[in-house]
């Protein structure tokens, strides 16, 4: 087996740019929630088609449909002009469609060779696995991708960027001609992104079609041939690269004149939260995820923390809230040192966190809307030994009103709510404890634009009316310039810049180290 055979040749009769796969009126409903409302677009041979859209716009749902993970509620997929229905992801894979998820689907305990052939082992003449042949092909694939990775290296010893290359090799080995990449650069370093883009260019030159999803708009623009923009489950624009620019994408993503609010004219009080010299070890324990960070937030003030993934925003917030342990620095709430206090004690003291991942850390799926809303403030409706149903109903009703949750009532199951309303439940739960400081980690993640505006509006109200000190983080620069009085940019665990709300998006992005790749 030579290196040239590792990547399958494409049919010669198909010209570059010819449409190989089409989505026609694809719609997907989850109960009453419409994730996709009829999307059309083409994937062309040997070209990159990028899907742009905010969180919750339906990009991931569409990708799951194209790769056979889920089935559309209506609409059809045409492959080489003929309608197809994928039974499952394996079926789609056998027709040459691979998806590389944001979270890689590899086994860290196995080596590169075994990962590439996982589930598709080459069986030798005597019924055993032909490891030698597998290794040969793996070497050829790595040579093709110009990555110096030994096939026998355990996957867990590779950097994330290299692991991504292994995933790509795996897709190529399966003779994929359509490769879907969901946020492939979100965890990569700048040099790794360069390598990935080179691989993408090589692949397209060989006739592989790529569907690309990214939040890094400039970055995606450097590699794409076509742009598709989704907004709230609808396709709002489709154009070849030559006809578009960054502004066109943002306009179509966010919609015209969309207003996420402006900083409330709240009366700023004394410093509510004071963080000094905070250090938090990173996951490996060798480096620092948060590196001597200072932050002061006054009562009634809203501070936005902008940064890329891995900038240390989540670690900073979780440490302040008491979930992670700091290895240096102090956190003060209204002058009181919080060292050694548990999460529960910090909540009682008036400091709360709305976590980033609401499914994993925010909601109890087995409980009702009301029970979720009242979970953090059970003490306020416990009379003696028992909870008071009436007092609890009051707490729940107040919370539903305050954060405007659209629900059939407190008794509805939490899973019946849309993402935006679920997020409001998590926020409402923490506001029901009557905090003085609220930290929100990516509060707009995975919710639609309308819900986003409502979330920011309720934060502005809480800051103005209650004198609440609000700190929220975001990775979408447009959301910095909404209700925040101050914008802090984090980069590699440190504050790299501070701005007031009159700053431009470009200045924020420059301070975050958001590299523009060429």
């Amino acid at each position: 087996m030579t290196a040239h055979q590792a990547i399958p040749p494409q049919p010669r009769d198909a010209a570059p740019g010819e449409v190989v796969m089409q989505a026609r009126d694809i719609a997907k409903h989850y109960g009453a929630v419409k994730a996709l409302k009829g999307v059309n677009f083409d994937i062309r041979r040997g070209q990159v088609t990028t899907l742009f859209g905010e969180n919750g716009a339906g990009k991931s749902t569409l990708m799951k449909i194209l790769s056979g993970v889920i089935r559309p509620s209506s609409g059809e997929i045409l492959l080489d002009g003929a309608p197809v229905t994928f039974e499952n992801a394996t079926d789609a894979l056998s027709r040459g469609i691979s998806i590389i998820h944001q979270e890689l689907a590899l086994a860290p305990n196995l080596n590169v060779r075994d990962n590439i052939f996982m589930g598709r082992e080459i069986i030798g003449p005597r019924g055993g696995v032909d490891f030698a042949a597998e290794e040969r092909i793996t070497r050829a694939l790595m040579a093709e991708l110009e990555e110096d990775i030994d096939p026998l290296t355990p996957l867990e010893n590779l950097r994330l960027g290299q692991q991504q290359i292994v995933e790509i090799a795996r897709a190529l080995q399966a003779r994929s001609r359509i490769l879907i990449m969901d946020e492939p650069t979100s965890a990569l370093s700048a040099s790794e992104v360069e390598v990935l883009f080179k691989v993408i260019r090589d692949l397209t030159a060989k006739g592989v079609s790529i569907v690309y999803i990214s939040h890094h708009l400039e970055e995606a623009l450097t590699v794409t041939h076509h742009a598709v923009v989704l907004r709230d489950g609808e396709m709002t624009a489709y154009a070849p690269r030559a006809e578009i620019d960054l502004e066109w994408i943002v306009r179509n993503m966010v919609g015209e004149n969309f207003d996420l609010g402006s900083p409330p004219d709240s009366r700023l009080g004394a410093p509510a939260l004071a963080v000094e010299g905070l250090c938090v070890p990173d996951a490996s324990g060798r480096g620092l995820a948060v590196d001597h960070l200072d932050l002061e937030v006054r009562a009634g003030e809203i501070v936005c923390i902008y940064g890329l993934m891995g900038a240390g925003r989540t670690e900073m917030m979780e440490t302040v809230a008491g979930r992670l342990r700091a290895n240096g620095g102090t956190v003060r709430l209204n002058g009181r040192d919080l060292a050694g206090l548990t999460i529960a004690q910090r909540i009682a003291a008036g400091l709360v966190l709305v976590p980033e991942d609401r499914q994993r850390d925010g909601l109890v799926q087995t409980m009702s809307v009301g029970q979720n809303l009242s979970l953090a403030s059970i003490g306020s409706f416990t009379r003696g030994l028992f909870t008071s149903r009436r007092a609890e109903a009051q707490v729940v009703a107040d919370a539903i009103r305050e954060v405007t949750v659209k629900t059939a009532g407190g008794g509805a199951m939490i899973g019946s709510l849309s993402g935006g309303n679920q997020q409001k439940v998590v926020i409402g739960k923490m506001l029901a404890t009557h905090p003085q400081v609220i930290l929100l980690d990516e509060p707009s993640r995975g919710i639609d634009v309308g819900a986003k505006a409502e979330v920011f509006r309720l934060l502005a109200h809480a800051a103005k009316d209650r004198g609440l000190a609000v700190v929220y983080s975001t990775s979408e620069v447009g959301e910095c310039l909404s209700v925040a009085h101050r914008i802090i940019v984090m980069r590699r665990g440190r504050i790299s810049a501070q701005f007031d709300h009159t700053v431009t998006k470009e200045a924020i992005m420059a301070a975050s180290g958001e590299a523009v790749h060429h």
Binding site: I70, P355, V364, T366, L375, A376, G379, T387, A408
Partner: protein, 344 residues
């Protein structure tokens, strides 16, 4: 925005149809079906006295099942309850025989109330060891309680040298009579064991539905990370849950040895599995967060009334085992139907 209740959100009132109702109340309907079937098959089955006798059998693993429910709601499992039951019975028997204090040269005969208190404390201590291993040292619940299953059983065998304490009645002269009261006496015709079960079930039900601790238990079983971030002391809850399970096992041990007026070291062997079965038949999810005392009680009665019914109509004990197994699998099948529907 003013009208928040009437909205287009994805919430609809659950439609009640026959299938849904049968699924929701499956343990109840199963119990009704069992009673109806055996009443037709045997003339002696349907009588108050038989129901009371069967109920006093149910009391033993019903008590274990309540403890097990708390653990399962919390997302864990307690395999040690059968052994804890045996150990607590043996320790109660040991105390009733009198404790020899060599230094003073006397034999102490603790009164029955003290025996009960000490036995319950032992159950709590066994549970505390489980809970600390699981909550603090992060030993998987399955492994920690499996180890305790062996250790507790081994200690019970060591204490008795494999023999059984037979004389638990105490004597008037020593002032420690009344141990058999738990197992034999009746109040208003109802065996004490059944009354104890009812009291424990009521207390557990109230605790789950109406106390902060109950809410913490459901929350940390449904999503421990979210509960922790909401200020729930998840570790303390976890330890407390295993202690409560140990106490339930101790109560069951007292009732059983009192019913038998003897305490054998092998009492309660495999009862942990019956208790898990009762909880599962009662509709609780083994993944935690879902289930209630009413369901578990129905589950315990389904198992008890089924196996006693099979005895009454003279079916071989081996068939009983087969039937019980089939019922358990059927129950889990229905559970996954109920909880799995919304997944995709």
């Amino acid at each position: 925005m003013a009208d928040i209740t009437n909205s287009n959100a994805a919430t609809r009132r659950p439609r009640m149809n026959i299938g849904h109702m049968l699924l929701e109340g499956r343990a109840f309907f199963a119990l009704v079906a069992i009673i109806a079937t055996f009443s037709v098959l045997s003339p002696v089955y349907f009588s108050l006295s038989n129901f009371l006798i069967m109920s006093s059998h149910v009391a033993i693993f019903g008590l274990l099942a309540i403890g097990m429910l708390l653990v399962i709601l919390n997302g864990g499992i307690d395999l040690s309850v059968g052994s804890t039951l045996g150990l607590c019975g043996v320790v109660a028997g040991f105390l009733m025989q009198g404790v020899e204090v060599p230094a003073a040269g006397v034999i102490l005969y603790p009164p029955v109330w003290a025996v009960v208190v000490l036995t319950l404390a032992l159950g709590a201590a066994v549970g505390a060891v489980n809970g600390i291993l699981i909550a603090v040292f992060r030993v998987p619940a399955f492994v920690a309680t499996l180890g305790m299953l062996y250790v507790a059983r081994g200690v019970a065998l060591l204490m008795t040298n494999g023999l059984t304490y037979n004389n638990l009645s105490g004597s008037e002269a020593l002032g420690n009579t009344g141990f058999d009261w738990l197992g034999f006496n009746r109040i208003g015709g109802v065996p004490i064991g059944v009354i104890v079960l009812a009291a424990v079930a009521l207390a557990a039900g109230l605790m789950l539905a109406r106390t902060a601790f109950g809410r913490w238990l459901y929350a940390s079983g449904g999503n421990a990370r979210a509960a922790e971030l909401s200020g729930v002391p998840t570790r303390r809850v976890q330890i407390a849950v295993y202690m409560l399970s140990g106490i339930c096992a101790a109560i069951a041990g007292l009732v059983l040895s009192s019913q038998l007026t003897s305490a054998g070291p092998t009492a309660g062997t495999t009862y942990e599995l019956t208790a898990i079965a009762a909880v599962v038949i009662g509709g609780a999810a083994l993944t935690g967060g879902r289930g209630n005392v009413r369901g578990t009680m129905l589950g315990a009665f389904v198992i008890g009334f089924l196996s006693d019914g099979l005895v009454i109509i003279g079916v071989s004990a081996y068939w009983q085992t087969v039937f019980t197994g089939a019922v358990i699998v059927l129950a889990v099948l229905l559970n996954s139907l109920q909880y799995g529907r919304s997944e995709r």
